[in-house]
Every structure is written in structure tokens, then in C-alpha cells.
Subunit: 652 residues, 2 copies
């Protein structure tokens, strides 16, 4: 039998030593959750540290990410080769795998980036959904793992955490378990300063299986973990713990959270817990216990591999889990692009996006669409059934009015692997899920965020629902591709690029109102260039109209009118600035030209100076929108052909 | 006795007629909540429509803002003069007070803008807090009103709504009542698609008083409202309703939410409910009942006015509620600016901000500081006590780890009037509360959002906690003033401007790490200019260094080094771009100069093209940060004096 208490102390002292060595960090979590973590790993976790990417491994999420040394100690002790003692000694140093908060590095066993509270448990819900969906597709022989999340008080105060509780209960994600570090302390002090709710009752109200226990009582933890595994509901282990347990000066105190540690703390802790070993020194017997415990996972992986080798769907399973695209899939996308090129003269780009999503349902069955209670106006469900409590085979999820959770689930599903998550809602609500989108960009996860109702074109729902600054706010974000397609053709092209992109998220800003068709043919995916000349006048340019989205149609009409009065206006469509910036300087110069320019976008001008010189002009929004129909608003705010023409006359 | 049922039908048909006339809108809420609303107004609401700005009026929030015609019908029937029948006939038309979603217009009785779900109830918590705080200050003779919020299913799914429930229960805001339209329908259809939690149990777990009732049973509603008023806890009325009640084709159906109405619907509803009156036609008797019911409020206001006239604190009360600043307050701010000018050579600007906040505690007792579990690292509590369940006199609130709620409470407190809310957390968490900050900008409310940890200067907490794109994302937002002060002097100046600004929010991006002092004197508030020349070389410029925040100190040092090698570099501090843009073109040209420029900011360059021409340079971030100490990161990312010098040599 392994000595789980000593295994726990090994976590405790590696964390303490790492923090003392780095001169900063958060000891509260690792010292308070050491018994919970060691019991989980010793007797319940399914993982093979020698194969950290094994698709059927249990997922572990440290939602209270400031307690990162808990995870690093666990990964070291359980044998993940990237997390050496040297790595622990490099805690919080540049380039180390042991960053201040866990940064996704699945080869090292770090499943997902955490640190902003609440995100982790929301991502964990996404992982648990991915597991169920994949199991429904490939069977329990290949997919049968659990998601465990370490959870702090802050995660449960955050709204996104509350959304996670609610939806996980609704979906009865029975293989999801939260391990709550109920230590009564947050950064400000006693939790009573800011919360007095009955947390277990809140979970029960959402349909969870709840157990309350002493988080330092190893047999109790062990029994609760077993019960959690046996129960069909998602489980909360409400573990009453002592923060920073083991450091006499700090345990149970506010300072237990992250007060700077001293050598004296270390000595006193070692004395108090009878741990006579030096800094970063772990007895061989303890290492051996850890090693022996992980052997179960190694065996499980071997059996799994044998099942996979014999499985009729092995190849498809491997395709899904490796994230590779099937041969010929792009013909579907290209076909849709062609369809857009011969389809109706004007189609809302959100409808065009729904058409692409439909077409890809067969070619890419790994797509998984999430939508926040806007099925009808966003139109991405048509060819899909819902993923529900009863039916895990659906590829569409009714997320409810929980945008932040939805975005974080995209991250969790993408980090889990095997599915390609697509998020659908209105662009105004992108602000609600922005923190999750930022995490996708930071982690380099291939989420696709589809947004409708991208401008004042929303109409009389008014300024709350009319994005004017949201395009710019995401163009400012590293590693986020912002697409605003002009028509059905560019929409299909943007989808193709987003699906091909595996190292970061993409977002589509799409129109509610019909977008005029501006492209005739679609043999080449011109959206890949980010911007391109849609119309080049013969015999040189007098000016260049730069536009995105629905304003490309407007620019095209303006160009025709200008031709009638003898002004030669090129039209440049700019569906994705990030891709245009990646082109050669020569290409960019050729597209932009040297003639005077007018930028046209139904949004604030912030950022447009990248393409407009001081003497160029911009037609767009000067502030928030208003409540009226789209045509009235376009006229009211001067985003009109007439305005383009009069401005063109001024500057040429 | 008023005929409350007919009063309800008047709401119902005015809403129906408005929507039919506008050809769009959401009938589900007004038709489903007509009895709840009419009972509230008839027997419980304290309001005098003739004095919509009466400070002691009850506040009404339509959190399910898509049901705006409920509010407009209520305001019309109860006698708010701006909401005429003509206004109802102009529903959703440009410039009308009856916008698609309620847009704040307190003269017309519209207390706050709503529409993005969950925000309204979170703002309502802020209003209830403001009431308690003001009552503690001025006594119940002057401040004794309630906050009523109409709430839909979506509001309760949103995380921010869940945060609101939790904190309102914790604080035992007994004068806050939520009227939940429990109609089992959201946009996608039956709520069972996305939620199955026991909502009343969830509220009870948070310490609320919960009553479950039939939302069309007027005596039951009346009794429940009385019980809610009598109970010391915040109250939920869980009102089981039928969506779109009264329209036979739609009631209880998914289409009840917002399916387009027809003339036949109108005729059938009139027949079904025995309402033989024409479109927009309300019988005199019903108008009279409405008028008589509102008379109580008129009387209450007169008595209140008499109490105010006799009150020793009347003048101060009026100063607070009118939002005017006391004479001489700016001397405190200026003194703090002087203190900054002679204080330590380097001070984190978040500490300098705490100093200002301290100094203002006496001069501006109406300041109310909210902080999301970061008291120690943000340092804005020192001279304040906490506002708690037991003590409503405090001017500091421990909001817990609930940033989105905190931001929405700022909106609610500012909309309520009487207090000046200050929000404090880390800049990385601004994304969590961005939707609420956008609402402050849209509404033109004077919230002050103070953020620490504004860059890679955060250090080894790593990229999750290091803003790189957040400055740009808010610079893109209309009506938001983004300050990034260079030192303690500019911090005090920014505070002064923010406090003086009454028509919109301001945000301060402040440093965790010490910021070098760059200003010697502070007789003039130079931050008012947005940007100014901090150092002008004698005999002309070879180049201009433009910088913000902590990088101004770096630019200043670089300028000194450049002088040693014979390069004359001006240093321009740019604490607030929005204010700089408001200066004359001449001033801007003079500040920016014609020499080559280098922009320096530890953030992404997006937006900097506004100040940098194609041949100018930028030193900042190219992507997300990393985990290491601040000095290591500044060196790693090349934001150094050395880099400025070598770049200056290249471009001059």
C-alpha cells in the first residue's frame, strides 16, 4: 500500500521549496490540497506520464491556477519527464515550463492555461462534454475518461464558474468532478467578507452530487472519490481544508494565500510535519510509491492501445484526435464558396455561414456547434441535433444565455482534442466571452467564434446590441484572426481558413442584414490574402475605396457611380487585416495603391490609421449607434454611397 | 378600489399595439408580466411621475430589457409626460424615447439602459447598495426607497446575474426585490433545453427570501409584494407566467417571445380578453385608476420634501444627489499632485492612486470604492471601512471575485445618484467587466475604473495576468477616457479629471512596479491636455519620444543618454489619447513635432499609427507576455533604453 500521506507531504514540500526558491508564489493551494491531490493520483486518476498525449487520459484542470506548484509537484512526482527537479527550481523563470500560472503544455502534462479564476472549471465542462461526445461517436472502448478540476473559492464566486455549475448539472456530466478547496480564505481574508451562501446547496440546486468532507482525511477523500465515480451526476467534493497547512506561522491565516515564505517557515514546517529531508529532496520510498501508483495508468493505456489497434474506427479516431482534416474536405468548402458565387444576389453573411456549417456537417463530423440561445436568428443548427443529457451524439449545444461559459467551453473542447468547436452568438455578446477568447488566443487553440449582428445593421434593437468598437478591440488582440467577410463567397473562404488554422482562434463578424454579392467566381480563396483588389479601374486609379463586410457592397456601388462622373475608384475588400499584414510589403503596396483612400466600415475608426494616411478619409461611426431600422441608421450616420461620392470629389 | 386587471390589460394592449405598429419587438414580457407590473405600481411602488428625478423614488429596472414595451406602457399609464401615446407609436424609431431596448432617460422614468441580459439585475444590486449607504449617511427620513427588478430567465442564466444573486444575499439587501418572469420559454424554446436547476433553491442557498406564485393571480402577487417588503432579506418573487398571455396563437409558445404579430393576433387577443377598445385606445376609467394609484407617490414626495426642507443636512444631501463637487475639493487633488511631485522618486502608480483615494476620503465622502478581492495589492482601502451586512456606513466594498458584477454595480450606483463609484482591480480583469464598462460609456455615467498591474510589469504571474491589448481595446471604445499616468503627479491629475467628468466613465491603467517620477511641479494639470512635452531639447529636436505610463520614465532616461551622444530627443508624455485628440490641431502638431518619432508603450502597437507615421518606430510588445520578473521581461521584449538609443540612431 502506498503511503499517501508521505506522497502528500512530498507535494507540500516541493511546492514550498519551489516558492521559497523563486521568492514568490502561492503556497495556500498546494499545502492545503496536498492530501486531496495525492489521493486522487494514487487511487483514482487514469494517466500514463510516459504518454502525456494519450487521448483517453483523464484530464486534470487546476482552476485555482495561482496554486501552480501543486500541479508542478504532481507532474514531477508522477513522472512527467519535462517537469524535472530543475524545472521546479526554475519556477517563475523565463522560458521555464513552470510558469507563475500553468501555461498549456500538454507534453509536460499541463492540460490547459489557468489563472483567471473561474475559467478553468468552465473549460473543464467543455472537456467533459468533449469526452461524452467522442464516446458517443467511438464507443467506450476508446473513450472513457474523467475530468477532475481543482477549484478555489474564487472560481465559485466568478459568474463564469456559476454558469459552469448550472450547465454541467443540466447536462448531467457524470464524469466531471470538482475538488473544492474550501479553506475559508481568499486574498482579502476570511471568505465571510464577500460570500455567505450555502455552496453545497447551490450545487445541489443545479443537480450535482455533493459530498462534504475533511480535505486532509485521506480515507474520507478516497471514499468520496469512489462515490463520485459511481454517481451518474457531476460531483462536488466540498473539502474543508486548512490553507497553507503545515506552515505554523501561516496555516489557516490570510497570509497563507501568498505571503512571502522564509527559511524559518521551511524549517518550522519540516519540524512540524516530521519531514527531515532537505530542500527539493524526496526520499526514494516516496518516489517509489508515486511510481507504483502511476503504473495502473500505464497498464490501462496498454490495454487501450490494444483495443484501438483492433478497432474498426481506429483511423477515423486518430484523425479526429490528431486534429487533421480529411482528404478532400476543402472541396466542400470550395463548393460552398462557388455556391455563394452563384447564389442569391444578397444574403446575410450569418445565413451564408449557416450554409457552410451545414455543408460541412458530413465532411467534418468533428465540428461541434455551441450557441447561446440564439438558434433561430443565427441559423447554425439546421443539419444538426442537440447534444443533451439523453443524447450525447448531437453536434449542437444549447448553451443557454451563458456566453462566457460558452467561450470557455470552446477552449476546453479544443484543449481536450478530438472536436472542432464553433461558437455562435451576436457580436455584441463577444464582450461577455472576451476573456475566454483571449485565452484561446494565448493558448493557440483553434476555436472558431462566429458572430452575427455585426454593426448598426442590427437595426432597432439599438446601441446595446450594435457593435461599433468590438472589431477594433479584437484586432488589437495577438493571435486572433478577425474576419469580416463581404458576402457569401468571402464567408465560405473565411470558414476554410479558420478550419485550416490549427494554432489559434478565428472570429467571423457577420451581418444580420443581406450583404450584396461582390464576387463572381471563387476558384482562388482571395480571403487568404487578407485584402485584395475587388475592382481595378482601367487606366489607373483616382482613388481607392477600402472596405470590409457589408460596406464592400456599398463601396462597389459607389465606385460604379463615381465612374459615371469620371472618377476611377478601385475597390479593395479587406476581410482580415491580420492576414493582410502577413503579406509582402510589395503586395500590400500594390493593393493599397498610391491614390487617395477612403476607408469605409460601419464601426469606429480606431486602428484604421494603419491603412489610411493623414490626408485620407474614413466613413464610419463616430460613437455608439441608435435604435431605428438599418437603412435609417446607415443614412443617419452617413454611411452612404452619396457620402462616399461627395468625399471622393473633395479629396481627388 | 382600482381595477388592477384592467390596468394590466392596458399594459398588455399598449405593448401589443406598439409592437404591431413598429412591426417588431418582444411581446412575451409585457403580456406575461402585465399583472405583476400593474399590481406593483398600483399598491407598492413609491414614485411621483411628475418628479421623475425625486431622489427618494423607488428604482425600477427592466433587466429583461427586450420587453421594453412593458416599461413604456407603464411609464405612459402612470403619467410620465415624456412617454406619450405618440412616443408609444414611435416605438423603435430614430430619436424616440421608446428605443428597442430601454435607453437611460431618467426624465422620462427610464432609470437605466438594459438589454444585454443579466446586467440589469447586477445594476439593481448597485442601486440597492447606494440606497443603503445613503440612508446610513442621511437617515431614513431622506432615504427610504426600494429597488424592483423585472427579471427574465436569461438574466438568471448569465454569470453576472448569478454574481448578483450571491452578493445581494450576502449583503442582505432587504429592499431589493426581483420579479422573475418564470415563463419556461427563452429564444430557443422551452427552458428545459438549457437549464434544469431549481432556481428558487439556488436563491435560498444565497440567503434570499423566496416566494413562488402564479404571476397572473393579482391577490397572490399583492400578498407576495407585501411579504417581500416586510422581509429583511432580498426577495425573489418566482412568478409562474404564461409568455405572451392573451394572444391565443402565441401564448405559452416559443413564438410568444418575439414572433411578428399580425392584425389577427390583435383581434383575437381583444376578443379573448374582452378588450373592445381600439388600437392605442385606453378607457378613461383605466387611465383614472392609474392616476389614482400614483397619487400615493405624489403625497409621499410632498411629505419627503417637507422633511428635506427641515433637515439639517439638506444642503449636503442635495450636493450628493445632484452630483456636484464641494468648493475647494480640487485643492485636495492638487495637493496630492504636489505631494506626488515631491514624494519618493519612484512609486507604483497604483500606490499613488491609493494615496489620492485616501486624501479624498474626507473631501469627497460620496466616493464609494469597490474592489474584487484585491485589497492588499491595490491599496485603496486604507482610510475606509467596509460596507457590510451590519454596517452600511462603510465606503469600501469587498465584492469578492466577481468583477463583472462589480462593474455593473458601478453603473447601478452611478445611475442611482448620490455616490461616486470607484472600481478597483487588475487590468487583466477589465475583460471580465468590459460589458459593464461599455454600458457606463454608452449611458454616459461617471464611473471611475481603477486598474493596477497594467503591463508585463506584473512580472512572473505571467501572460494571463499581463495586459498587452487591453489599453487598445478600450481606446477603441466611444466615450471612455483611458488614462495611463506616468507617475504620482499624473495619477493625481488623472483622478482630478475623472472626478470632474460627469458625462462618462474614465479608466486608469496603473503600474504594480515603481514608476519613476518624471514631473517636478504640478501647478498646472498637464494631463488635461492628454499629451504634453515633458522635455524639450534646446535648439530643436532630432527626434521625439512618445510614451505612456511607466515607459515615460524610460523615455526620459533614454533622452538623457541620447543627449550624451549628441542626439536631441524631446519626450512627450501621452497619458490620455482621448483628451489629446480633443486639443487643437495646432497644439497637437506642436507637441508631436516634425522630427522622427519613436512610440514606446509596453503593449501592442495597435492604434499607435494615429501618432506614428510610416517611417516612425514603435517599441512595445509583439504578442503576449511571459512569466518572469518585470526587469527580465522588459529586457526580453526589448523595451529598454538601449533599444531606444539604437533605434534613434537608425532613424535620425
Amino acid at each position: 500500500m502506498p503511503d499517501i500521506q508521505s506522497m502528500a507531504h512530498a507535494i507540500r514540500f516541493l511546492a514550498l521549496d519551489s516558492i521559497l526558491n523563486a521568492r514568490e508564489g502561492h503556497q495556500g493551494v498546494p499545502l492545503g490540497m496536498a492530501e486531496i491531490a495525492s489521493t486522487l493520483y494514487a487511487n483514482h486518476l487514469k494517466a500514463d506520464p510516459a504518454d502525456p498525449l494519450w487521448p483517453d487520459r483523464d484530464r486534470v484542470v487546476l482552476s485555482n491556477g495561482h496554486g501552480s506548484t501543486l500541479l508542478y509537484a504532481l507532474l514531477h512526482l508522477s513522472g512527467y519527464e519535462h517537469v524535472t527537479l530543475e524545472a521546479l527550481k526554475s519556477f517563475r523563470k523565463l522560458g521555464s515550463v513552470t510558469a507563475g500560472h500553468p501555461e498549456i503544455e500538454q507534453h509536460a502534462g499541463i492540460e490547459i492555461t489557468t489563472g483567471l479564476l473561474g475559467q478553468g472549471i468552465a473549460c473543464a465542462v467543455g472537456m467533459a462534454v468533449a469526452e461524452e461526445r467522442l464516446a458517443a461517436q467511438f464507443g467506450r472502448d476508446l473513450v472513457d475518461h474523467r475530468t477532475w478540476a481543482f477549484v478555489g473559492d474564487g472560481c465559485l464566486q466568478e459568474g463564469v464558474g456559476q454558469e459552469a455549475i448550472s450547465l454541467a448539472g443540466h447536462l448531467q456530466l457524470g464524469k466531471l468532478t470538482f475538488l473544492w478547496d474550501d479553506n475559508h480564505i481568499t486574498d482579502d481574508g476570511d471568505t465571510i467578507l464577500s460570500i455567505s451562501e450555502d455552496v453545497p446547496a447551490r450545487f445541489r440546486a443545479a443537480g450535482w452530487h455533493v459530498q462534504e468532507l475533511d480535505g486532509h482525511d485521506i480515507p474520507a477523500i478516497d471514499a468520496a472519490l469512489s462515490a463520485a465515480r459511481d454517481d451518474p451526476r457531476p460531483s462536488l467534493l466540498a473539502c474543508r481544508t486548512t490553507i497553507a497547512r503545515g506552515i505554523p506561522r501561516l496555516e489557516g491565516q490570510r497570509g497563507g494565500h501568498s505571503a512571502p515564505l522564509t527559511e524559518a517557515d521551511s524549517a518550522e514546517a519540516r519540524a512540524a510535519l516530521n519531514w527531515p529531508h532537505g530542500s527539493f529532496e524526496i526520499p526514494d520510498a516516496v518516489y517509489r510509491d508515486w511510481h507504483d501508483c502511476m503504473a495502473k495508468g500505464k497498464g490501462a493505456r496498454k490495454h487501450w492501445q490494444a483495443r484501438l489497434d483492433a478497432h474498426p474506427d481506429a483511423q477515423e479516431f486518430q484523425r479526429w484526435t490528431s486534429g487533421s482534416l480529411p482528404d478532400g474536405w476543402e472541396q466542400t468548402a470550395a463548393a460552398q464558396s462557388h455556391a455563394g458565387a452563384v447564389g442569391p444576389d444578397a444574403l446575410p453573411t450569418i445565413t451564408a455561414s449557416g450554409d457552410v456549417c451545414d455543408q460541412l456537417a458530413k465532411a467534418l463530423p468533428e465540428l461541434f456547434v455551441l450557441c447561446a440561445d440564439l438558434e433561430a436568428p443565427t441559423n447554425h443548427k439546421r443539419s444538426r441535433t442537440a447534444f443533451t443529457r439523453q443524447d450525447r451524439n448531437g453536434s449542437y449545444m444549447h448553451c443557454g444565455v451563458r456566453e462566457h461559459l460558452m467561450g470557455a467551453m470552446v477552449d476546453g473542447i479544443a484543449a481536450h482534442g478530438g472536436l472542432r468547436p464553433i461558437n455562435v452568438t451576436y457580436l455584441a455578446f463577444a464582450d461577455y466571452e472576451r476573456p475566454a477568447m483571449r485565452m484561446a488566443a494565448l493558448m493557440g487553440l483553434p476555436g472558431l467564434f462566429v458572430f452575427s449582428h455585426d454593426s448598426i445593421g442590427v437595426g432597432s434593437n439599438g446601441p446595446t446590441h450594435q457593435p461599433v468598437e468590438i472589431l477594433a478591440s479584437f484586432r488589437a488582440m495577438p493571435n486572433m484572426r478577425v474576419f469580416r467577410p463581404a458576402d457569401a463567397v468571402e464567408t465560405a473562404e473565411a470558414w476554410q481558413i479558420a478550419i485550416e488554422t490549427s494554432d489559434g482562434p478565428s472570429m467571423l463578424a457577420l451581418s444580420r442584414q443581406p450583404a450584396e454579392r461582390v464576387r463572381d467566381g471563387a476558384d482562388e480563396n482571395l480571403t487568404r490574402k487578407g485584402a485584395y483588389v475587388l475592382h481595378e479601374p482601367k487606366n489607373g486609379r483616382d482613388l481607392t475605396l477600402l472596405a470590409t463586410g457589408t460596406e464592400v457592397g456599398l463601396a462597389t456601388r459607389a465606385s460604379a457611380h463615381l465612374a459615371e462622373i469620371g472618377l476611377k475608384a478601385a475597390v479593395v475588400s479587406m476581410p482580415c487585416w491580420e492576414l493582410f499584414e502577413a503579406q509582402t510589403e510589395e503586395y500590400r503596396a500594390q493593393v493599397l495603391g498610391t491614390a487617395p483612400r477612403i476607408g469605409i466600415e460601419a464601426a469606429m475608426s480606431f486602428g484604421w490609421e494603419r491603412w489610411l494616411r493623414p490626408d485620407d478619409r474614413f466613413i464610419g461611426m463616430q460613437g455608439f449607434g441608435a435604435s431605428a431600422t438599418a437603412d435609417v441608421l446607415y443614412a443617419h450616420f452617413g454611411i452612404t454611397v452619396e457620402n462616399v461620392i461627395s468625399m471622393a470629389r473633395e479629396i481627388v
